[in-house]
Amino acid sequence: MQEKHGSGNKNIQQTLGSKVSRRDFLKMMTAVGAIAALPGNGLLRRGPGASVMPSTGYEGKDAYQVFHNACPRNCYDTCGMLSYVKDGVLKFVEGDPASTFTRGGLCVKGYSYPRSVYSPDRIKYPMKQEGRGTGNWVRISWDEALDTIAKKVLELKEQDGSLLGLGMTKYSGNFGITHYGVEGMMSSLGYTTRFVGTPCWPAGIDAQNFDMGNMWCNDPEDMVHSKYIIIWGANPSINSIHSMKYINEAKRRGAKVLVIDPIFTQTAAKANEYWQIKPGADGALALGMARHLLDKKLEDKAWLEENGEGYSEFASYLRREITVDWAAEQSGIPAERIKQITEEFASVKPATIWLGYGLQRHTNGGAMVRAIDAFVAMTGNIGKVGGGARYGHLFTWGFNYNALVQSAPEGSIGYTGVTGPMGEFDTGQGGNAATYTDRAFNINKIAQEILDAKEPPVRMLYVANKNVLSQDFDRNKIIEAFKKLDLIVVADLFFNPTVEQADIVLPTTTLFEDWTVNVSYWHYWMSINEQAIAPMYETKSDIEIASALSAKINSIKAGSCTFPENIDPKEMMIKEFNDGIYSLFGINSWEDLKNGARKAKLVSSASWSDNKFGTPSGKYEFKSAIAEEYGHSALVKYKEPREAYASYRLLTPHSMYGLHSQFQNLDWMLDYNPEPLAYIHPKLAREKGLVDGDTVRVYNKTGEVQLKVSVNDIVPADTILMYEAWYGQNNPFNVNILVDDESSDMGKYKTGAPGVAIHDQFAEIEKA
């Protein structure tokens, strides 16, 4: 805000003109009916504390301007949204009815959006912390913020001869395509250190790539055709609520639904049958099921003959080393059930398995996905409508990545070692065919990487779309590592534990204040995200920050940054579209999306319907040479799970009330989910002398949390369940205090780094 006094509102004298006489003035005021129309005359009559107006609800369709938006969170459902705006203020939101997937409804999180847009606690201005962690913040102008950042970048270049001392960590806080402008910003400055990989799904991605040559699932809307659905280590009742209607419809048409999960989830409660599997034994179970197919001659011989590379070797392995009884022992599922379900699954077509992301968050996660994929392949369900081994896809993500792809300035020096992909969305570096690349560190081991980095050390960190201190692992180690950094810059919406460690915080826009386009890694719809309201306070989107930084640093030293200066965010969004996207979605222009979400025109709802796999052999590979290159068994095989390092398994899956560290901090969400709980079985409760509501300590080698306990038999008797969420700045609860950064087996091939064995954690529990 400017400080010139009286420049706030247009001066009355200016409005009226200096020559206006008293008589004229009176006339004008009367003309607009001023006095009669004094707003809320009731205001004067009401006593102190009286509200101004009752809650307003729906005011009729003509009362609002309606915009199309898309929820940019890391969620299967990526909902199309409608935003209802009146007088420039967002009043309420709805799901986009144009998308059959969204079908007009959001979720408990999506409906809370107006709360975050208009929270008085939003970060409004660039601010500087005088002394990291002191809590003493001052406002600075964007100019000063960018100046500080630019000068530090130039200093690093001077000091190290490269920008490898500048690190950037970003993940899924906002999946709007233009938010790849953060990576673009880094690339346009030079070669930097990137924290690559993903904490989420990399083991499964690699597994599906080894097996089929890509991660590419069926259209989830085709599950209505499935005659048998196994939901394996996935929980759509929490994480993909819009998928449930397809599963319900399949069930209504006579399909059987089996849920395999360590926890009796809400999804399990909706199934025909639920298996409480021992975590980490999913691979053993799948191999046992595969063995039973052979025993009963239920495998699809013809399909396997045509399409199965290395199949006979796999079949020999099964005969030699796997039995159903062994699988029963490993998994805890009785042999009789394993046999029956296998026979049922194999005797109907199409049948499908939905492999979840929780399933592969283990040290043997990738191997387990390969085993389950193999089982589906053996039943001949790959490439079938209503079939498939469903995990995810990036089929609709073929944008230009104009924001992402930037060239390094002339003369940039970078890393000269061998590097892999910079994350699962990496489409390759554009620009010069350089001998240099960015230096890639494992995003899941940020603390250790910073502690170990040298030549040069990481001196500066830019954080966007990620809440490191809430979501990364081994929190104490992260705090230690941050001490090595001279400058930490965080771009975010709300104050969180990462902002607490920042030297500079930059205020960002919500989706309503931003132009971008969104697609999903599960369904096949695309939604435009229009700017529905003006960016509040001094917020800027990631791409505006990139552009402004470019202008600033070039003004200090020309040629320092290639990112376009003075961008128009809407234009940048338009630039993401290309002919490939237009023809895939059957639209002529991005403007068609202003009428609602559009679906990709698929040749078949089934991926791999032509059986032309993306593997070196062109077939489904039960034996993968690439897998071996990456240090795994070439043949699909059993891999041992991680050994317990404490008495009880600790599971920390997603909460429905938050998406990682977003939403749960809002007051409306606290109305539906007031506090974190540790769920334990009545048997464990008895052992520890605990009852509902007792405060407990849950602790292990990595850390400790205290919270209330809920005694519930949805949990196995040897397990502690706590949902991952961040309750806001006054609540220190964080499950990641207890999660170490042990890697999952796979992930390096397609995402640049292995994943994290989030569900291979263990802890003790006792009354506090």
Binding site: N9, K10, S51, S119
Partner: protein, 179 residues
């Protein structure tokens, strides 16, 4: 300009301030009119100011009318914000930060009051007087709660307590005069 009108203008400027310098300037102008505690360390005032009114942490005393009037402590741009916007419109005023900064930020409301007071010097219009009374009564509905909120927070610089007292005092005086 009368002391009273000057006070309103400088109070508005204080709440508008984006840094210690701006706060100091407004504070010094106010100190010429009303005795004020001396300040050694303006940084300390700035830290308090930001903790209360700006961020980046959750605001300890949000400076927006609707927070106190609409019984919803966690939403700006609420119903009474739109009412104040309408009120400004009747005066022929509009905030240049429309929909970017809530119209009912204390600085904007004080600025509107300053505008009205200044206009009233030149033309004693009954309609304008009514509008002045409306705005004063509106302010009186929330400023006391706002002030109480500030006073209830620990470790806030005394200079800010002084400003809150001055704000209330100025408002009370204006209301008495209006009768």
């Amino acid at each position: 300009m009368s002391d009273f009108i000057q006070s309103i203008q400088q109070l508005s400027a204080f709440f508008f301030a984006s840094d210690a310098k701006g706060m100091k300037t407004a504070y010094s102008e106010l100190a010429k009119i009303h005795p004020a505690p001396a300040v050694d360390d303006w940084s300390s005032v700035e830290f308090s100011f930001n903790r209360l009114f700006v961020g980046p942490r959750a605001l300890l005393a949000p400076p927006y009318a609707s927070i106190y009037l609409d019984n919803d402590p966690n939403r700006v741009m609420n119903e009474s914000t739109m009412q104040i916007r309408q009120f400004y419109g009747l005066l022929g005023l509009v905030s240049p930060w429309l929909n970017k900064i809530p119209d009912d930020h204390i600085a904007l409301e004080l600025d509107a009051l300053w505008q009205i007071e200044t206009a009233l010097i030149n033309s004693a219009s009954p309609q304008l007087s009514d509008m002045r009374e409306y705005l004063l009564e509106h302010l009186q509905l929330w400023v006391p709660k706002f002030r109480q909120r500030v006073l209830s927070i620990d470790d806030i610089h005394p200079a800010i307590h002084h400003i809150m007292d001055l704000l209330q005092q100025t408002l009370t005086t204006a209301l008495q005069d209006a009768e």
